[in-house]
Symmetry: C2
Subunit: 230 residues, 2 copies
Amino acid sequence: MPGFREFEAQELRFISSFKTGELVAETGTTLLSEGSHSAHLYTLLSGWAFRYKTLPDGRRQILNYMLPGDLVGLQGSVIGEMQHSVEALSPLVLCVFQRDRLNELFRNHPGLGFDITWLAAQEERMLDDHLLSLGRRTAVERAAYLIAFLYHRAASVGLASPRNLYLPITQMHVADTLGLSIVHTNKTLRKLAGKSLIRWLDRSCEVLDVAGLMELAGWSGPAERRRPLI
Amino acid sequence: MPGFREFEAQELRFISSFKTGELVAETGTTLLSEGSHSAHLYTLLSGWAFRYKTLPDGRRQILNYMLPGDLVGLQGSVIGEMQHSVEALSPLVLCVFQRDRLNELFRNHPGLGFDITWLAAQEERMLDDHLLSLGRRTAVERAAYLIAFLYHRAASVGLASPRNLYLPITQMHVADTLGLSIVHTNKTLRKLAGKSLIRWLDRSCEVLDVAGLMELAGWSGPAERRRPLI
DNA sequence: CGTCAGTTTGACACGAATCAAAGTGAGTGG
DNA sequence: CCACTCACTTTGATTCGTGTCAAACTGACG
């Protein structure tokens, strides 16, 4: 997706003019947690992470996955208290910004301010898709959608070859994303494997037939990611 | 919530300098639909609306509700093609903007650009809550959360007295929001009524015990809506 | 060799969907 | 003013999908 590449260039300018530090995090690290007040905002430079929320009794829901180019903690930075947690799925490299310089950014680099809004709108679009999935798709359809979705996301940042996707997630992650139990998730993934749509390896997933997954899920793929001219 | 009022004042400045027209819509009107390219962006001045997506076979999922002060169609405006539809739940008054003047806004009024990002972040936060609900709450908990959520939203724009909330929605809307069937939605709402948490009237809902609903749902209410200083 | 996280499988229970049908009330036309 | 319709709500019976429980399997790692 050329649109993303374009954006990435912009993003890099943003980074170089505003960054206050760089951060490396290991797999499993919790970067931000629900209820905390973070003075920082991050851009993910490399690696996979995910955002989640939990209910008081511990039930967990994964909200979305984060890939290079994504802003981490924008919400918290703008609103105040973090409403979700962020955890690393692989070693990460992050670019750190001071939260209070966001205003400055908007003042001095309106184009980049627009970019941030564009990113927020993209995130919104993904969340909309996830909501449709959780609300109205069956377990198999949800799983198909999720894998196709992650495949597209990975592909958009050059992390997936057309047929092979290394997803650093466990079935527990899949379960907490789809709103299913771990047992049923396993049975569901096996159904997809039975249809030769995927192959589940230890802690990863090979995508055999993206088009098949998308058709099963009734999902036509992400909207064009072309960024409007500024 | 005083924060919102504050924002509204900003919003009104925004409106006066950038609006290109005003629009009145009747209940049931579809303002924007999935797949269309809209040249406009709206601010809701009065009334209730909702956003939804559908699967190819017609299953519908309501994504969120819109109240006065909300931006309608930001996503579509920034990204291109609309990925969801918007429908009026009551007569609406909207303020219309040209989509292509959004860049101009960011350039000339960075503070307002920041406001838009803030609004987008708020929407994101709400969608996160909804995802947690659909993924990890039971039917009764979901219904309790939804009504408490709508109550808070209505209260934040002065539409609800502490104990009485007129929601212009049917159980069909509730079902499509909670990801449940209409029959089960009815049985679920009756359970809430049985616990004296709500009373369902024809096409509306009286909230008897917000705190009880929130506790049942394990939801502690929306984050502070205070807008950061610019 | 044992431990531990993750995956897999089968039996059973429960929550939600579906099917079917009736009740309610607002609006409409005779 | 009275059927009549239509959208919405309500209820009961039954089916189906998913959760829960229990246990075994696998491979990495110490």
